[in-house]
């Protein structure tokens, strides 16, 4: 199981959109999620992300990530919800002693925060899985005029986490193939297994990046003016999508 957030080749509507449109989409989701202050509209956006993932054929990869994000946001909520005092008290976490008050305002805020986080963060893996890295580099350089070297570094940085995950996976496969019980379901045991690996992992990931840098340099990377193979144009679908995004952003004002 290689890198988790890797480009996945299928032919879908979303795959075919211009990377710029998709980058704008991530920003639109961000803006809209912050424009609204009630959970329902943000939930709608979140569902729209899921719908996009489903239509792009990457739902299998996106769902576990969303799940992880929800668990993470749930922990964040637990840390905050009891400290909100205003609003009507709905219930207590431990009823008999009246400890852990939950108010309607608190619940509202928590839900908004949690949905917001999941909605905005989940756009990034969707973007990465539906857009080849090179396409992204091309638009960053040609359309947004970012110097090639920086654009490439930015993308590579985005890919570092997946590379690291791939590396963890690989080492764990090597370990269990030699009888080490790293294929446990228990997340805490898994932590105990992964933590001592932190240093060798980092070392081997860095070595891998180094080899990649060598390979890039040996093919004349950043040695002078550069051409681009991929020609990326805005199509009708892109303009339609942009109109849709604009309406979505303006809708809170209209409502």
């Amino acid at each position: 199981m290689p890198a988790m957030v890797e480009y996945i080749q299928t032919d879908s509507f979303f795959h075919r959109l211009n990377p710029i449109t998709k980058i704008l989409w991530t920003f639109a989701v961000l803006i809209i999620s912050f424009l609204f202050n009630s959970p329902i509209p943000i939930l709608v956006i979140l569902l729209s992300n899921l719908l996009i993932a489903l239509a792009s054929g990457i739902i299998k990869q996106v769902l576990p990530m969303m799940k992880a994000l929800f668990i993470f946001s749930f922990i964040l909520i637990l840390c905050q919800i009891f400290f909100v005092d205003e609003g009507k008290t709905l219930f207590y976490a431990i009823p008999y002693f009246n400890i852990g008050k939950v108010t309607d305002a608190g619940l509202n805020m928590s839900l908004v925060m949690s949905f917001r986080m999941v909605a905005t963060v989940s756009t990034i893996p969707i973007l990465m899985m539906t857009t080849p890295m090179t396409d992204m580099v091309v638009v960053l350089v040609e359309k947004l005029k970012i110097p090639f070297k920086y654009a490439f570094m930015f993308i590579t940085a985005l890919r570092f986490i997946p590379t690291l995950m791939g590396e963890i996976e690989q080492i764990m496969q090597a370990q269990m193939s030699r009888g080490y019980n790293s294929d446990t379901r228990n997340p805490f045991k898994k932590m105990v297994i992964v933590i001592p690996l932190a240093i060798p992992l980092l070392v081997s990931s860095i070595k891998k990046t180094e080899k990649m840098a060598i390979s890039m340099e040996a093919r004349g990377f950043a040695s002078g003016p550069r051409s681009y193979f991929r020609k990326i144009v805005m199509g009708k679908a892109d303009y339609a999508a942009l109109v849709l995004l604009l309406t979505a952003i303006l809708s809170p004002a209209l409502l």
Binding site: S215, A218, P225
Partner: protein
């Protein structure tokens, strides 16, 4: 095309030099094979040709390496890349893109080749390496041999003056290996690209290379036209370098006192040799 004078190299924190006073002159259009046991310094030599040593891997570097007139110490890797195309020993670590097509385009884009030309070269190099159907594949979802073909395709697409390949067929099936050597031969003949290939499959080297270099323990042990080098069967057997089975057969026949003469390098030649042995005895 390639001039190596008194080259020695010692990796940082290692005791023995990986290369020990290497002297080699390789002319334009030569097709040179390098063989030797593991740890002989073959890869280290290849890394000196494309400037990875001394620019990326550090250690004590003595002597001089010039490729296409450029000194590898004075010119950085990217500059040398205009003259030297490389296939590294580990195909996996050299793939930088997520899609096969982009991987091949990567080097061409860096060298500022026009878009139309890039499209033509991608098509051609995919065909030459037999992976046209993998064009849209994600590079993480390939088998070992498929990755190796992608690495070779991206190097030959560049059509550099010099191609340095480090065990390019180690994970390829026999026909695939043969196809790669046919392709190299074609590049060598049609574009007079100088080719330096490290390879353990001696059958291929003997059939395709005009010159053979045998390395052992950081030094060049034998160097010369392929047949002359193969004539040193005793030395080759001693350091454990393979010969084709048919060459070995002739060597065994010689030891039995049944045959004198040149060593065959392929089945056709071996047929003549064995026929001769059989008929001589018959008379």
């Amino acid at each position: 095309m390639i001039q190596i004078k008194g080259l020695s190299f010692l990796y940082n924190d290692s005791k023995e030099p990986a290369l020990n006073n290497i002297n080699l002159q390789i002319g334009e259009g030569e097709f040179v094979g390098i063989v030797g046991p593991t740890g002989a310094g073959k890869s280290t030599l290849a890394l000196c040709l494309n400037g990875v040593i001394p620019h990326f891997l550090h250690g004590e570097f003595y002597g001089e390496v010039k490729v296409d007139g450029k000194d590898t110490v004075e010119n950085d890797c990217a500059r040398i890349a205009y003259s030297v195309g490389s296939v590294f020993q580990d195909p996996e670590a050299q793939i930088v893109s997520t899609r096969v097509e982009d991987e091949i385009a990567f080097g061409l884009e860096n060298l500022n080749i026009p878009r139309i030309e890039i499209a033509a070269r991608i098509k051609e190099s995919l065909e030459m390496t037999g992976i046209s159907d993998l064009r849209d594949y994600s590079t993480t979802q390939l088998s070992g041999g498929q990755k190796q073909r992608v690495a070779i395709a991206s190097a030959i697409a560049l059509r550099p003056k010099i191609l340095v390949l480090d065990e390019p067929t180690s994970e390829l099936d026999p026909k695939g290996s043969l196809d790669i050597f046919n392709t190299l031969q074609k590049l060598n003949k049609e574009y007079s690209i100088t080719i330096v290939v490290i390879e353990q499959k001696i059958q291929l080297l003997t059939e395709y290379c005009s010159r053979l270099v045998v390395m052992e323990k950081g030094s060049v042990l034998l160097d010369g036209p392929t047949r002359n080098v193969l004539a040193n069967q005793e030395i080759l057997q001693k350091i454990g370098v393979n010969s084709s089975p048919v060459t070995r057969l002739a060597y065994m026949l010689k030891k039995e006192g049944l045959y004198q003469g040149e060593f065959p390098i392929n089945v056709e030649e071996a047929y003549l040799v064995v026929s001769k042995v059989l008929s001589e005895k018959r008379r």
